[in-house]
Symmetry: C2
Subunit: 195 residues, 2 copies
DNA sequence: CGTCTATTTGAATGTACTCAAAAGCGGTGG
DNA sequence: CCACCGCTTTTGAGTACATTCAAATAGACG
């Protein structure tokens, strides 16, 4: 079980000795998810937190008109899950779907408490992780409030440099908060202006 | 120094004995902020986390066209601050302003580490606090993506039942991501439809 | 290949914006 | 106590950004 990418992430914030790494390893799992497969669907409880080792996971929800809204693309090195459902043990309003073949490390809820008690430093890691997620999320709100769709699209391309080539445009549109139709027009404009 | 509201908030998540409360009390301050006064302006470093005991604080930023965008109203019992500036010690991109006469409890950065080391349980409190903030923030993104301005306005009224009467409409508009002009038209429509 | 889904394009429409002017409201000084 | 000043809110007219619906085209996969 190759957790090197996970430990690299952990060790940016806390130090772990071999013994602690073994404990950690014994309490997590690797899973492989095929493209278009779901890790979580609406109504289910989210029992896991996921760390993407490879590939891309998309979190989204459906509004009352059944339109999809993508809240996050989690790529290599990112964490994802449904925090609300995970911590409150409530049915999820979200879906999590692999948009490519994806390898994840996942931690089950029931092991999370054990991890915290055996490796208290993890409280710190996850607190800081949450902080960073919150900052990123707040940033996304700001951007959405003050920027045009075209600007948001450019920002998307910078944040996820290779994702445009890897996944369907309709998912990107649903992340940007526009229709696929309009995204198509934006792309056309963007290409023209790049000439 | 009346910290009863603060302890009530803390004790929803962790238990504190009298000794710990004394430590806590010795490491925080009470401050009174007059209406329209700033707690933080752009370029400053945010040295504090704030807990609102009474009143209302508004966090906002200015975009490149000098338009204000309100990211949060912190009312009684809410925490606020500029997390990014606080944890990374970077100049703030945000302003925090009292929109009413406001009483806050604040914790200075330099006392925060001492608090964590003397009362490790606080790591847990603040981790859960961050979780909740993140959930609320994610919710706000979702809502902004999938709802019309009118719907967002109704949601605002439910989230902050008394705020509409307490603060200028232009701030509410900047929270909703619309112009004061358009908010005015929405209110008119809303009143009509309520008849 | 053929079928199914995704993307592009066109035309008409709606939501929210800008700019400018008028009306309302609150605080201050005479 | 009221008149005036400055700021906020409302209203009107014209406009821009993004949407819907429908049809055409392009791509992916068995």
């Amino acid at each position: 079980m190759d957790l090197s990418k996970v430990f690299k992430s952990l060790e940016r914030i806390i130090e772990l000795d071999e013994y602690e790494k073994d404990i950690f390893t014994s309490l997590v799992e690797i899973a492989i998810i095929k493209r278009n497969q779901y890790l979580l669907t609406e109504g289910e409880r989210c029992g896991y937190e996921y760390f993407v080792i490879n590939g891309c996971l998309r979190s989204f929800y459906r509004d009352e008109n059944a339109n999809e809204h993508t809240t996050l693309f989690a790529i290599e090195g990112w964490w994802t899950g449904n925090l609300k459902s995970f911590v409150r043990n409530t049915p999820s309003e979200f879906y999590i779907q692999a948009v490519e073949d994806t390898v994840v490390m996942r931690i089950h809820k029931k092991n999370m408490d054990e991890l915290y008690s055996k490796i208290p430093k993890l409280e710190r890691y996850f607190r800081i992780l949450l902080q960073n997620r919150l900052l990123a999320t707040q940033d996304r709100i700001s951007k959405h409030l003050s920027e045009s769709a075209l600007t948001r699209f450019s920002n998307f391309l910078m944040l996820y440099p290779t994702l445009e080539q890897r996944i369907p445009a309709k998912h990107i549109a649903s992340y940007l908060g526009i229709t696929p139709t309009y995204l198509s027009r934006l792309r056309k404009k963007n290409i023209k202006s790049a000439l």
